[in-house]
Amino acid sequence: MKTTLPVIVAFLSGLIMVVGFFLNPEKSFLGNVEEEVLRWGTIVGGFTLLLGVVSLVRVNSRTVSQKKQGWIFNLITLISVFAMAIPSMIPLSSKSAIGSVLYSIIPASWGGLFGTGPDSIYDWMFNYLESPMMATMFAMLAFYIASAAYRAFRARNTEATLLLLTAVLVMLWRIPMGEAFLRLFGDNVPQYINSFVMNGVNMAVQRGIIIGAALGAASMSLRIMLGIERTYMGKG
């Protein structure tokens, strides 16, 4: 029961997708079922995102309540979670039951602050706290790339040499001065990089990798549907 039922559920929800693909949606009952199941999938999938939040809150509250070393930082995490989450969940208008109670206490003009709209607290925190940090993490990569290039891009063998030569060539090609430099070797050199390196070799390799990865993903999907692969089920 504990494993059989999930296997059957996985099989059926997958099968509907597969069979639905081959049927005409206007002509068959299954076409509509497919659409509905997909919708269910997005809804149930949304809940899995919330699981992470629950785990995070649990882990951090434990540290805080036991006053483990550095618990103050975990408290900050908890405060940040709620500061962002709570305003986003408050209803925007007085239409619903909770909303009508809420807006009898606070002015209705505050409504815009809640939810996830353009003027909300949530949107503000995203734009002015979270995104600068996200952009900074990306920006830090520039430093790391430089140091990785220095330490690791060594012409140790043919493969490494090809990698670093192409990288240098593309970096040159993408900046004004480099492009001018490349033209010294012939007016069409930048165009050749475009067509042979980017559209030629690069595209071919991407295609080979795409095909291989797709085969892997398809065979895994097949095994999940058939209940052969169950790593995802975790502990019973």
Partner: protein, 212 residues
């Protein structure tokens, strides 16, 4: 600039600098920013799922459009939380299995239909020299690249003989492609660094000038 606009800039600048400080050394400011970030991102998911999934896709259609049957995905979603109760955690497998099966079904077909077949087809290029030298050369590069890459990822035989030779060409092609990717990514990351530095120099710097 209003006080609030100044405040926004200073807050942003503090967080940016706190994260950048990790480049020198791990320190309490980085640790602070790291923990704020972890919390905010979790809160972000709550808002996203609450508004765009629970309200827009579940509650509104159920109450406004009378789509009562959405109670089932709602229940399945709620069952996910059974995971936190040891005795009932197996129940959450049903919801998970639903999502996994659903994804697997979509994937099985989309990978075969959307990727493998069309990509295989577009590799069937004409190598006829009458298409012109450049076009033929490009076609040849593509064909050799795709096939040798596939051969490199063939595991059922040792890579010796013809197979080994082809695989070797494959790895060369692969390295060239990775180099190109590296070059492009370098460009993207530097641009974002430039963006952050522009923020610090001009926005925050401007604010500092105005204050002092």
């Amino acid at each position: 600039m209003t006080f609030f606009a100044q405040f926004q800039i200073w807050l942003g600048a503090f967080l940016v600098l706190a994260l950048f400080s990790f480049l020198y050394k791990d320190n309490p400011f980085y640790k602070l920013a790291e923990h704020v970030y972890a919390g905010l991102s979790a809160g972000y998911y709550v808002g996203l799922v609450w508004q765009s999934v629970i309200i827009q896709q579940l509650v509104d259609p159920m109450f406004d459009d009378g789509q009562w049957w959405l109670i089932f995905p709602g229940l399945l979603g709620t069952l996910m939380f059974a995971r936190f109760f040891a005795k009932w955690s197996w129940v959450s497998r049903i919801s998970l299995a639903f999502v996994m099966g659903n994804t697997a079904g979509v994937f099985l077909i989309s990978q075969l239909h959307g990727l493998i077949l069309p990509q295989t087809m577009s590799t069937m290029l004409s190598l006829n020299p009458k298409n012109g030298f450049a076009a033929t050369l490009l076609a040849l590069v593509t064909v050799v690249g795709v096939i040798s890459t596939l051969i490199y990822f063939y595991f059922s035989k040792e890579h010796i003989g013809v197979l080994g030779g082809t695989a070797r060409v494959g790895i060369w092609f692969i390295m060239i492609s990775f180099g190109a990717h590296f070059g492009y990514t370098v460009m993207a990351r530097i641009s974002l660094l430039i963006g952050q530095v522009q923020f610090l120099l001009f926005d925050w710097g401007g604010s500092i000038k105005q204050i002092f």
